[in-house]
Amino acid sequence: MSHGNDHDHAAVTGSATSPLAARVRAMEALLIEKGVLTEAEIQDNIAYMDSRSPANGARLVARAWTDEGFKARLLSDGKAAAIEFGIEAGASPEFVVVENTPGVHNLIVCTLCSCYPRNVLGRPPDWYKSFEYRSRAVREPRAVMREFGFEPPGGTRVAVHDSTADVRYMVLPMRPPGTEGIGEEELAGLVTRDCLIGMGVPSAPTG
């Protein structure tokens, strides 16, 4: 595709100065020049990603806590349940929700790269992408959780899910005790991003 103007484009991906950022900008310029992508498509994709956040997951969890029928749908077909909330989870990959119970605490990792339910929750935290987390979460999940200041209750089995393929996982934590009189919106406020990965559990508001 010819590039019919002679002004310099400001790269859509920003002006950060790290070597990686420079490489991304160079690739972006090439992809646009060769007609593989347009600037508008890149901008749209950034806007789409920015519109995703852990708040989506928190809303799904709070509804599941207050509506047994919704919880059943969330666990059997996560994507359809997300669509009920207007969260378009995309055609692929699959979105599967795993439930914490008194007997099982779930922890999510991707040892191969950084697979994460981005279409629902946005970008993963940096620690989730770190080599250290990816290599240690499968091998010593309990030690890693302790380092995050969290320990599953005694008698609870830890189930680690390595998202190696076409499924992205989110954890449905248990509703904390002491939240019986609390409405759905406030309940959602108790659910942090880390709880949705299994690196912690929500607690009742204090005071």
Partner: protein, 97 residues
């Protein structure tokens, strides 16, 4: 979609390396596990990665592995499991009951 394995089946992850893009992690190669669920059929990522269609699709399974069998120094109850999603062509019958 014809799935070769069913939930509860004992399987082993094929050992050995394959050049190129592979979604089966090394730490599970040669390890014994149990089919937990049949997740469906998906385009083969080993072909998709190189711009091919990925057809015919491959059946994907959720496979459970006993942590204690994976790591000799594992800290935790002996019935704790790790789950990973493995394509059918990386699995063979046999192993854990």
């Amino acid at each position: 979609m014809t799935a070769r394995f069913a939930p509860g089946d004992a399987v082993r992850v094929r050992p050995g390396a394959k050049p190129g893009h592979v979604r089966t992690p090394d730490y599970l190669k040669g390890r014994q596990g149990r089919i937990e669920a049949v997740l469906g059929s998906f385009p083969n990522p080993e072909d998709l990665a190189y711009g091919l269609s990925g057809e015919p699709g491959r059946v994907l399974y959720k496979v459970g592995f006993r942590q204690e069998a994976l790591w000799s120094d594992y800290e935790g109850p002996s019935d704790e499991r790790l789950y990973a999603d493995v394509y059918e062509h990386w699995l063979e019958p046999g192993g854990e009951r």
